[in-house]
Symmetry: C2
């Protein structure tokens, strides 16, 4: 009987990939992974995705840093992630829950300018009363990024750092609003040669 | 007020990306999009993802064909998709629901050999009694592909055509089991230089 394996409710995690559209993809991925400080999360990399688990603040801090370090190479880089919190199941990675709340990468990457286009979808699978909280967080995001509709997703255009900040706030608001199992999928594109922001036919 | 835009319950769709880790990424993506016959789906491409919508059979047929055409170049190619059916909302793309059930690409790609590693997660958001159906579909998949646990996902190793076939069956079983809103996320990796299948630390 195969089930999706997931973690205890206080452990956040992300399964993500960095895809540099470049012949130097190995160097870019390895460089980004090395440049980020991942000591406050449990991290595994296999041939499909990298998994990070730990406190929510560190999961976002580490994934943001890895993406920004890859994107600042100037190559077209895509980031694909599923963030998750609250799926009952195994207990691996719990040791990392003893870490403090001080993100290790935030200060180092906060001034990196990297315009990106992103799409995210939020799936609050565990009940709760969060819709008003989510909407107010998305409204707050509009001060920093452009928010628009997309099929199966909400589109965000702006600086990578602001977008990751907004995504973290929306995710936190959903969890704190009572969703006992929250999933958020994110696609981000940096340095795309086809970026126009308006080349969609709708 | 921004909400995730989605479609009427009989329209299936996918928001997906092909990421060739190659300096020739533009040619590979464009070539794959041109090589696939997409006349039975509504398709939009922007700088983050491509959206296809129509009947379920054609959504899987087209995404499978585009991935296989990109992967057969031999380059390291990642495929990231969110399949969705049943989110109430707009009605665009409905015209394509008049198409017949004959997939246009299946015969053309069925003999292409392409070993891949994949991870998928299924989110049945709309109730229903489908768990037994899903498990039996996953059991059936084991005849053709290797199924294992992954964090936040189920891992599949095998031929791309068999894996897409299995994913389509699991998704259909969930919908037919009564889930009124079904979401499935899929990550697939082809021709990865780091593919070992066993380089995970767990």
């Amino acid at each position: 009987m195969v089930k999706h394996a997931c973690t205890k409710s206080d452990i956040a995690g992300a399964s993500f990939s960095i895809h540099p559209m470049s012949d130097q993809f190995v160097e870019i991925i390895k460089g980004a992974l090395e440049e980020a400080d991942t000591t406050k999360v449990h991290m595994d990399t296999d041939d499909v995705t990298t998994t990070v688990r730990g406190k929510l603040i560190h999961v976002f801090d580490v994934t943001k840093a890895i993406f920004v370090h890859a994107a600042k190479t100037g190559k077209h880089v895509a980031f694909e992630a599923t963030y998750s919190l609250g799926c009952p199941g195994d207990s691996k990675g719990e040791a990392y829950m003893a870490e403090d709340e001080i993100p290790l990468n935030a200060e180092l990457v906060k001034d990196i300018k990297q315009p990106v286009a992103a799409k995210f979808s939020l799936y609050p699978l565990g009940g709760g009363n969060y819709m008003d909280v989510i909407y107010s967080q998305i409204e707050a995001m509009k001060q920093h990024v452009t928010v628009s509709h997309a099929h199966y997703a909400t589109r965000l255009d702006g600086e990578a750092i602001a977008i990751f900040g907004g995504l973290e706030q929306v995710f936190k608001a959903t969890v704190e609003g009572g969703s006992s199992h929250t999933v958020m999928t994110v696609s981000i594109s940096a340095n795309s040669p086809s970026h126009t922001g308006t080349d969609r036919d709708e």
